[in-house]
Symmetry: C2
Subunit: 180 residues, 2 copies
Amino acid sequence: MSTVKSNQAGIADAGRRMSSDERREQIVEAAIAVFGAKGYVGTTTDDVARAASVSQPYVVRLFGTKENLFLAALDSALERLLAAFRSAPDGDDLHDRGELMGQAYLGLLEVRGLHQILSHAFLLGAHPVIGPAARAGFARVWHFLRDDAGYTSEEAQKFLAMGMLINTMVGLRMTGEYGK
Amino acid sequence: MSTVKSNQAGIADAGRRMSSDERREQIVEAAIAVFGAKGYVGTTTDDVARAASVSQPYVVRLFGTKENLFLAALDSALERLLAAFRSAPDGDDLHDRGELMGQAYLGLLEVRGLHQILSHAFLLGAHPVIGPAARAGFARVWHFLRDDAGYTSEEAQKFLAMGMLINTMVGLRMTGEYGK
DNA sequence: GATAGTTGTAATCGGATGATTACTAGCTGG
DNA sequence: CCAGCTAGTAATCATCCGATTACAACTATC
């Protein structure tokens, strides 16, 4: 029903030929959405390929393995998360900063799958490769809160806890009832 | 390496013939552990079968589908969770009750996979069958906190948030560093 | 405008997996 | 003690999926 060439009113012309770096970014974006929606095991490389309007073998070639693709998507998601937190200007007091970072976190809902790919990664602790990456990512966020945002351990813990509850609501698709 | 008959120092003699109800319970127990460790899609019915020392077709026969098996495991996990909360005696003030319920939640760590199968279920909101069940389960916990435990919305939210953070640490296998 | 490198796909393969079928072994009541 | 029911398995099937291979189309450079 859709040729590769046909650009079905999609975002950016996905059919055109582009540099492998451009394509990689595009695929990572799609991977965040699909991995977020269906999880690591539940996602096929073909799912991601179709979401990125690319053939399945090309996804595998650009990333080597599905595992590497997930790691790239996870890294991108974490990078965006920290960027959003950093861009929350530090107000006069910590409370304001917390509010702004919380809102920045909710703003990230527009990046489809971001919260959920993090949740999925955090459940893969037993995976030999993804597990360590997930722990490292979590530690990065933790140390950002402590060292850069200036939170105490207790504050950081509460902030993270609320974040995890938000992730849960997103995963449950109960975001509608939670318009604050 | 292991015959069905050989009872490799296991808990309870799994090799003996038992009623289908007994077997069902045993399989659900195994299912909580395996689904918790590897997720819904990542778990095979054969994984559960081997964990329960039973053949794979028998698991399918007793539960019909893998989906039903997961639903049974999720339900059992929720039942145990609420039972643990209920058994936390209501002290004089709410704060004590909260402490006790928190400890009860940590005590449930001895039920292998319980926290993680809940986390996994909470990420399956988009699943046509498991999604609604997961939302209903979450709602059950929420209403228990509000109606039975007497929490305000804000208190219930904070309690749940901390629970989700604990779940995250369990999923990440970072429980070692968190010995209170 | 040929040659070489890069982007991209079609075809295909082997292994895994949920489910079905057909069968065996053990229990129970008359 | 045998007839029927229940517990349980071995074998097998169709499907799916990640990865590989072989090939085609585009682009740049000399």
